[in-house]
């Protein structure tokens, strides 16, 4: 029970810090602050001509940032390899005993 109270106090401090950051952030849904940037205009104005895809999100993840997605497929491959290593090592060890 003592552990819960200590965790609550700690989380309260973290929450107050994050909440002060939210107080300084621009209003939700406003165009001016986050979205009037070069990449937004470039993607939305020249995306269909440059990639031929009218769905801009898939144009971003497989054309503009295709190298990023290549790294992500590597993550998937590493996950499957790690799970095989973790679970099959147990079977081989049991077979030896």
């Amino acid at each position: 029970m003592k552990k819960n109270i200590v965790a609550m106090i700690m989380l309260l401090i973290i929450g107050l810090g994050l909440m002060s950051v939210v107080g300084e952030m621009p209003t939700f849904g406003e165009r001016r602050f986050f979205s009037e940037e070069e990449m937004y205009d470039r993607y939305l104005q020249q995306g269909p001509e440059e990639t031929g895809s009218i769905n801009i999100v898939s144009a971003i993840i497989t054309d503009y940032r295709a190298f990023d997605t290549l790294g992500e497929t590597t993550v998937l491959f590493a996950t499957v390899a790690a799970i095989y290593g973790t679970l099959l090592a147990a079977i081989n060890k049991d077979g030896d005993d």
Binding site: M25, Y43, I56, I60, E72, T79
Partner: protein
């Protein structure tokens, strides 16, 4: 700290609340599967924060059927980044669950306190 600004940004406040509750689950519950669920809740809070940053009032989803300069679209960049993040979070969850199954085969429990007790008795 601006109070009216906080009231207008209730999406960010909800993301912070999810983050804190997920962190609370990870800190206080001794069960490993409950810790994995808490980690997933923290991931979802980060996704909620990023996607709500990209939203624009009155914007359409970024699929350009007829190009015209008058139509407003939401920012497609946070959506693409979070699409990557969801897949990575599922990968991390799967690997953590494989480790949990291995721990259960080794110790017969998935409670952290019992595992610590068993390990201290072994030494």
């Amino acid at each position: 700290m601006n109070l009216t600004n906080i009231m207008a940004n209730f999406y960010y406040v909800a993301a912070i609340i999810f983050f804190l509750i997920g962190l609370y689950i990870m800190l206080t519950h001794p069960n490993l599967i409950k810790k994995v669920i808490g980690m997933n809740i923290i991931d979802s809070s980060i996704f909620l924060f990023f996607v709500s940053v990209g939203y624009i009032e009155g914007g359409k989803s970024p699929i350009i059927e007829n190009p015209s300069p008058l139509t407003e679209f939401v920012n497609p960049l946070p959506s693409g980044l979070m699409l990557t993040g969801i897949v990575v979070s599922v990968s991390i969850t799967a690997f953590a669950l494989a480790l949990i199954i291995r721990i259960y085969q080794e110790y017969g429990t998935i409670n952290v306190e019992e595992i610590v007790k068993i390990r201290s008795e072994e030494e």
